[in-house]
């Protein structure tokens, strides 16, 4: 028994802490102890105040004794924070429950709290595994419609479980599906599926720096010439033929001639004739349309139509003047 005083392990028991005020506090203590109630940590605070601890297992016995001695046999029981006036001028208050295992006592008295806590944890754990929304970011955002379609086809929709998804494989799949993307990453942020899309950029055209001369491949009249590197051999208004040199690959610096790669642009106005035969005498527009279609996509400067008789039909000669751009570099 003497070990109880120094064995701190015993303090793992749960105690109710009481505060007693009144006179003859020693008599109160003696009465309790003589009737078999063990008191712990009895501390006097002044002449008329006392605090002590009672093992929670002996609490019933403690109140039974108090009921009999100082409370006229009424059923008395106190919870933490409650107080009662006893006969003999005593005031008893239960301060708190203490001891290393007192939290278990608290939990036992609040079972609903425990159940609610368990339900909350379970629901939170389950809910955190669900996809509530999909967020897109990055400059590849313009492709989100296609990516959204891809996700829908693979069953990645609202309320899908994150634990059912392999985010790395999903990102690889999106990247393989859309060639306009250069990088894709998928990550989980709370309940959001975050998808970062990086668009592929077209590499710049590499300039061809191997051209030493700009030569005409068509007959026509020079309308515009711009030389950035090299020397112009013709000027605006000159008539050129197929194979004529337009810009040569050299520049003169003082008395020295340097060879350079040509960088120039020349616009030539060309002419071409088309012939059509039609029974109607009034089919100029039709003839012009046929001629432009034959010429292809090019800028038409002017149109001339000449009509002549051909047997019983009308022959249309359509002259189209158009621009042709020649460039080097």
């Amino acid at each position: 028994m003497w070990k109880d005083c120094v064995d701190r392990k015993n303090l793992g028991v749960v105690y109710a802490v009481y505060y007693l005020s009144g006179v003859n506090l020693d008599r109160f203590v003696n009465h309790l102890v003589s009737r078999g109630v063990a008191l712990f940590n009895v501390r006097k605070k002044g002449n008329k105040r006392l605090s002590f601890c009672v093992n929670l297992k002996e609490n019933k016995k403690f109140f039974a004794i108090i009921n009999k001695l100082w409370y006229n046999n009424k059923n008395l029981s106190l919870e933490d924070g409650q107080s009662v006036a006893l006969e003999g001028g005593y005031q008893l208050k239960r301060l708190r429950t203490s001891g290393k295992l007192s939290f278990l006592y608290y939990l036992a008295k609040n079972v609903g709290l425990i159940i609610g806590g368990v339900i909350f944890v379970a629901v939170s754990t389950l809910a955190s595994d669900l996809v509530f929304s999909v967020d897109f970011s990055g400059d590849g955002n313009a492709n989100r419609a296609r990516v959204q379609e891809y996700l829908t086809e693979r069953g990645v929709v609202k309320y899908t479980r994150f634990s059912d998804l392999d985010l790395n494989a999903l990102a690889d799949g999106i990247l393989a599906d859309d060639s306009s993307l250069s990088f894709v990453s998928c990550s989980k942020r709370g309940n959001r599926l975050k998808i970062y899309l990086q668009s592929a950029k077209t590499p710049p055209t590499i300039l061809d720096e191997s051209v030493r001369q700009l030569v005409s491949n068509i007959d026509g009249v020079i309308e515009q010439i711009k030389v950035y590197r090299g020397s112009a051999v013709v000027k605006v208004g000159d008539v050129v033929k197929n194979g004529d040199l337009l810009v040569d690959g050299f520049v003169t610096a003082g008395e020295t001639q340097l060879e350079v790669n040509v960088l120039a642009k020349v616009v030539i106005v060309c002419e071409r004739e088309f012939e059509f035969v039609h029974q109607s005498n009034d089919a100029e527009q039709l003839a012009i349309a046929y001629a432009e279609q034959e010429l292809g996509e090019t800028e038409v400067v002017s149109t001339e139509v000449e009509k002549t008789s051909f047997e019983n039909d009308t022959k249309y000669i359509v002259k189209l003047r158009y621009r042709r751009l020649l460039s080097a570099g």
Binding site: W2, V29, V33, S34, G36, A38
Partner: protein, 85 residues
């Protein structure tokens, strides 16, 4: 077997009469007593006990009753003196 009972067994020639009380002093910090009848007076400077034969006064500072039940009493605090009364 209690601590005191084992001492009594080993040193039986020292015990002619059964002592009215038993006390173990733990330095100046605590005293443990058995066979205490009642507490006659209690304050943070003095604890007066009633024993089977006579009484005991424990004087000191910040005294409090660590455990008190069934005649066993542990008094903790800064114990200055123990006197028979």
């Amino acid at each position: 077997m209690s601590f005191f009972d084992s001492i009594k067994e080993n040193f039986s020639d020292l015990f002619i009469d059964a002592p009215s009380y038993r006390a173990v002093l733990f330095g100046d910090d605590a005293i443990y007593l058995e066979n205490v009848r009642a507490i006659v007076g209690y304050s943070s400077e003095e604890v007066k006990l009633s024993l089977k034969k006579g009484g005991l006064a424990i004087k000191g500072e910040n005294l409090y009753l660590k455990k008190y039940c069934d005649g066993d009493l542990a008094v903790c605090g800064k114990i200055a003196s123990i006197e028979r009364i």
